[in-house]
């Protein structure tokens, strides 16, 4: 089963965990109903819609309230440290969590005690922390945008805010940045780089590029990276090989964005609504290319 792990931006929101459901476009876990604006709820909603379209079980979700003070994240880290070894998750996707390196290391140690090692996916703050801890190669997939790729490529930067100026995050530098991230052991086994073009790469180089359809407004819309990570997580959990899942997910996310006919003011739920239409088209298109 896929488990998605992250935070919800309310100070007093409790730690909840359980199967994810959706009612009236709200995520439901353990009786809590959570609106889908951006962040981890958007990732969960996209993963759920993808799993449904693939005929797969609903993902499991861990969610805790945190507004950036780290209190909720610490509670969740502590819970995971004690409980992950007893779970049988086959895919774990880590998302918006307060970057605290020693907690990352404890959670990674707990994952190593799971009887069969799950596929490990990291996005957002957890990806920052995975790099900062020096354990990036322990992960199977990171999903950075081009700016975050520059951060992965800069061996000295502990956060994207400190990426050195000579490592420019420009689209045409993506292949160089990927090489540099792998050379410094700051990349996961596969990378899915989100941008004007989406790149799927590993240590050997670029495995595929998805560049259509082009919908300029998507870059401005909060949550479109989260939906992509949700799509790919559910595709991987369905048994599709990681690089293949990344290519299909990137295409499906672009199609969902295109179908929503967005402006920069569009909200991400409008894109999630299009996943059931977009995913079959992306799968058919990929089958057609093989």
């Amino acid at each position: 089963m896929l488990a998605v792990i992250g935070t919800y931006p309310r100070k007093d929101f409790p730690l909840v965990f359980g199967k994810i459901a959706m009612e009236d476009e709200r995520i439901c876990i353990q009786g809590e109903r959570i609106p889908v604006n951006r962040g981890t709820p958007a990732l969960m909603a996209a993963a759920l819609r993808t799993a449904e379209a693939l005929g797969q079980p609903a993902p499991f979700g861990y969610l805790v309230g945190d507004i950036g003070q780290g209190k909720g994240s610490r509670l969740l880290y502590d819970h995971l440290t004690h409980n992950l070894p007893q779970t049988g998750f086959s895919t774990l996707t880590f998302h918006y969590l307060q970057p605290i390196v020693h907690w990352h290391d404890r959670v990674l140690s707990a994952i190593e005690r799971i009887s069969k090692r799950p596929v490990l996916i990291a996005d957002a703050g957890y990806m920052y922390m995975a790099k900062m801890s020096g354990h990036a190669p322990a992960y199977d997939l990171f999903t950075p945008d081009v700016g975050e790729l520059a951060f992965l490529a800069d061996e000295k930067a502990p956060h994207p805010l400190y990426t050195r100026g000579f490592i420019l995050h420009e689209e045409n530098k993506v292949p160089d940045l990927i090489n540099r991230a792998y050379a410094n052991k700051n990349a996961s086994r596969f990378l899915l780089v989100k941008g004007v073009k989406d790149y799927v790469a590993n240590r050997e180089g670029i495995l595929g590029i998805i560049e259509n359809p082009v919908t300029e407004a998507l870059e401005a819309i909060g949550g479109t990276g989260d939906t992509l990570t949700g799509l790919v997580s559910a595709l991987i959990e369905s048994g599709i090989e990681i690089s293949e899942a990344a290519l299909i997910g990137a295409h499906a996310n672009r199609l969902a964005g295109f179908l929503a006919n967005p402006t920069p003011a569009t909200q991400v739920m409008e894109i999630i609504r299009q996943i059931p239409k977009a995913l079959p088209e992306a799968l058919d298109s990929r089958r057609g290319r093989k």
Binding site: D66, G68, G70, A124, G125, E148, L161, Y162, A220, P264
Partner: protein, 184 residues
Amino acid sequence: MSIFTFFQRKPGKPAVLEDKDCGLLVFENTTEVIRAENVLKAEGCEIRLMGPPPEIQSGCDLVIVFPLMEKLNILRALTDRGVSPIDVVPVSSPLLHPVDLFQVKDYGAYLMVRAANMKLCVDKNSRRIVNISGGGCPDVPYLAYEMVGKSIGEAPSPRKIGHTLCGYALDLAFEEIKRRCLPS
């Protein structure tokens, strides 16, 4: 739709404070750093925010660099305002500079500014914040919740309600978009 992208260095950079003869104020978290920065700037102290050296990095970090000669004054000002550092250390290795480049994208009716990993987009006509994207720390969805839908003149500043480096980066984008869209 007219779309163009360019880089611009933040205007009005303060005079450079050399690392030699400087100390670092280390705080519990980024919220405290920003509170202390506000206190010290109001006192007219010559300080700047930097990334900590590797030996004291613990996660989402920012430190205040200050002239060691002013240590007593600075600590007194902070103690009086209830925002004391957890440590004060001399600068012993090169520090990391926060990004000071902005990437601007004009969508015609909308303008987006990116600072580091954070993007903020406004409706140029109403000056309403329509989207916030990027980032990875948990205050990003919180800041989006508090800011999206409000005009840039009314929205709370990420500097005041944010807690992390992503919040700090969003504040840079917010200030830049105000500079571009609000009458001076």
